[in-house]
């Protein structure tokens, strides 16, 4: 079974600075997708960014980018120019290319200091 590990329960960043959230996963599959979801205090789950395993190029969405290291099974999220609105719980998630469901990590709480 696939597992997703987020080793940082909590992170802090100063407004306008850059922060990196870590995620590692375990799978024997070659075809899969990785995601970062954001969950603000309002509790909704918002898709931040996705990465297809077959793509070598790291995904980027505005201030959000990933460092996808397939051999190391690592998928970190970098947030540049952090804003107060970035404060949230961030979940890393895995989805098999053959399957259906998302497997989530335990989450990292990101606090942004002004």
């Amino acid at each position: 079974a696939q597992t997703v590990t987020q080793s940082q329960p909590e992170m802090s960043v100063q407004e306008a600075e850059t922060v990196t959230l870590s995620c590692t996963y375990d799978t024997s599959e070659s075809d899969y997708y990785l995601f970062w979801y954001k969950q603000p205090p309002s509790r909704q789950m918002i898709l931040v960014i996705r990465q297809e395993a077959y793509k070598q190029q790291n995904a980027t969405e505005n201030r959000f980018s990933v460092n996808f290291q397939k051999a190391a099974k690592s998928f970190s999220l970098k947030i540049s120019d952090s804003q107060l609105g970035d404060a949230a719980m961030y979940f890393c998630a895995y989805m098999s290319g053959y399957g259906n469901k998302l497997v989530f990590g335990a989450g990292t709480i990101l606090r942004v200091k002004s």
């Binding site: 909704q44 898709l47 979940f91 399957g99 998302l102 497997v103 335990a106």
Partner: protein, 113 residues
């Protein structure tokens, strides 16, 4: 932008009672999901639904749970006889195709007394 809609936002129910959580997925989406998040814990998969049948379910999804798509728009999760440990946030999600990301609703907070 189209959204997944869940109602109610908060449901309080006595232990042993039946509860139905409702979801309206994005209209052209074909795959539907329920996830659960117990307070302070990770989000857990419950069940997926495609072509009017369950395509996958977790060990959490036992006989007290059922899902239904009664019409062309709603997707419901029923818990027949609620237990205290069913207290959680329940998220509905949908996606258009197999290679598309899942979009989540805002969740229903279920409190069992």
């Amino acid at each position: 932008e189209p959204e997944v809609t869940q109602t109610p936002s908060h449901q309080v129910t006595q232990m042993g009672q039946e509860v139905i959580l409702r979801c309206v997925p994005i209209s052209n989406h074909l795959y539907f999901y329920w996830y659960r998040q117990i307070l302070g814990q990770k989000v857990e998969f419950l069940v997926s639904f495609y072509n009017n049948e369950i395509s996958e379910k977790s060990e959490i999804f036992d006989d007290q749970f059922s899902v239904e798509r009664p019409d062309g728009s709603n997707f419901t999760l029923k818990i027949r006889s609620t237990k205290l440990e069913d207290s959680a946030m329940y998220f509905c999600a949908s996606r258009q195709g197999l290679n598309q990301p899942q979009h989540f609703g805002d969740g229903t907070r279920l409190s069992i007394l």
